[in-house]
Symmetry: none
Subunit: 190 residues, 4 copies
DNA sequence: TATGAATGAGCGTTCATTCAT
DNA sequence: TATGAATGAACGCTCATTCAT
């Protein structure tokens, strides 16, 4: 078999991407290191030069991927000069089916009850909460909203979307519309 | 080893309870059927007279336990003659540390990031959402609230608590207080 | 569950028949005592009142069933007053698709390579060999044939049919015709 | 334990040989993968790098071994320039106790009624039938024999030997002599 | 850096068999 | 005679991990 050498960082990232894809598709337990290596056309042992164990690889993959998703959303949230109302209207929400990559889409439409889907959702929420809270604090300082407990409000803004996200009966666009309407209503921004 | 025979229903429930406890403590993967059987002082094979596979046992256990938790909350939600405001003030919330059994307590304070904890939380939320929506519809009919989209509101009421639930920095009672305050505020019931 | 008591001999035979049917359909390994008991609507333990072990049950079933098949063929072979030529022309051969019960039919058309099918075939052959040899000896005494070694001839007469029996390409009747033609030719009885 | 690495093909064959030996000695059911691995001083899991399941290993082993036996016989059958009579006189027959390896010997003298013995015998017969038929066709073309249905004759030639093979009362050499005498007689080659 | 054959512990599952009722 | 819950010992198989090359 041809031996292809790559720069360590590139290889590491390749492993993370491949692992994330397979974990997502098949779940943690049903994805073996052998599967990941085979998918990369690489020997099994190679994974262990970059990650000490399967679990470490998994944790890193989830965390990095959640970080990527959150990073994308954060770009929009932190655009300078926007009011909170404008932010809400522009932001993709988790539900935005217009998302341009496969994973974000899958995050919204992934198999219900799929464990990894839940895990990833929770990881994204956990990372989003402080960022949303930050924006609420800024909006409060600008006098756009009057709420006391921005931490709690941010929690509901972020985690509350999970329930809408899991509702398969209503089409994606309609869910996005309803979610934004609710958030504006809740924050008295209508 | 002395052979202890029990009524099938009793044995079945004993297995479910034992499995739930161990799954909760150690996680799905790290709990083997052998562990469960040993805990019950029973032969491994016995579990397979009652459940066709480990996964079926797990699913049944999660579902039943989530159902128990939801059942307890539902009793309070459905008390006749209460206004929505009263319901909110009386209800335990997921967060209620006064809960009198171990699991409810653990549900609120369980190991962060623990997969089973997340799974159970999500299962409880999924079961709670329609019940909360039902109460919102009744309250709306009684003229207590004016919201259009009770489905979305119910989702945020239920899933939004997950974010607060996972916040370990603030003591439980304070979290309960804040959650109720937020819900009343959100529904304009203050 | 209603408790149905039967005469021991009847029960014993019922077990043998049921076991034989399931062993035949699914093979020895893939037939459990539980399967047999379930098929009879009877408790598992009951089989152990009639047979000391699964293997003993199997051996008895095979032997008895092979004996039944052989008994039927023997009736024809031993009809008084027939010449060997008449016997050959009348006998069913293993291949006779006109056989009136399911098993004989299946014996001829059973799944190729099925282990039990082979076992049963071999058991039948082993029981048939001395009976055929006996007829050859009688025919030799009557001067109908001139062969020295009736034992070897009988072996070939009996086991040789296995090869024809396993040939699925040729229809049953044609195989029977060819087999009889060959036997007559071989014994110079044409 | 010292780790001994071998070329895949060599290892694969080693597994097949070891498995065949144990299956032959103890039967399919009573030979575990653990037994095979232990015999090779190798980890259990290794077998599963080469064969997907115990059954696949078994089938491959039987088929390969039957092929080896048949291959040896075929060499003799296909020697150029021999008449059918010479072929019969020279060929080993299944019964030939002069066979120089253990298995061939065991094939003839293996435990009676042993399932694997039967299976192997049948597999050998199935592979031999068309080869014998081929030789009969050639001999017929050369005018050495006058038989119509070479397929049926070949079947009887091959499978018929099974009966003789299983006869333990007569010593091997005598059985070989009788078999050859019968075949010559049957084909009018005496 | 990369290979991939080999390890070895452990797990889910099956099932012949037993025994208290 | 019959029940069926319970036993317990295997067994097939998986897979994270190691290591000689």
């Amino acid at each position: 078999m041809p031996r292809i050498t790559k720069a360590p960082e590139e290889r590491r990232q390749e492993i993370l991407d491949t692992a994330m894809r397979l974990f997502y598709q098949n779940g943690y337990e049903k994805t073996s290191i052998a599967d990941i290596a085979q998918e990369m056309h690489v020997a099994q042992g190679l994974c262990y030069r970059y990650f000490p164990s399967k679990e470490a690889l998994f944790d890193t993959a989830i965390d990095q991927y959640a970080g990527q998703l959150v990073g994308r959303m954060t770009e929009i949230l932190r655009q300078p000069g926007l009011t909170l109302r404008e932010i809400i209207l522009q932001m993709p929400t988790f539900l935005d089916t217009e998302a341009d990559d496969n994973f974000t889409y899958k995050l919204c439409h992934g198999p219900q009850g799929h464990k990894l889907h839940q895990q990833l959702s929770m990881a994204v929420c956990a990372k989003m909460q402080p960022i949303v809270q930050e924006q609420l604090d800024l909006a409060k300082a600008r006098g756009e909203i009057q709420v006391e407990d921005t931490r709690t409000v941010a929690s509901f803004c972020v985690y509350g979307q999970l329930g809408v996200l899991l509702c398969a009966e209503i089409p994606g666009e309609e869910r996005v519309r309803r979610t934004k309407a609710f958030l504006l209503e809740m924050l008295h921004l209508k």
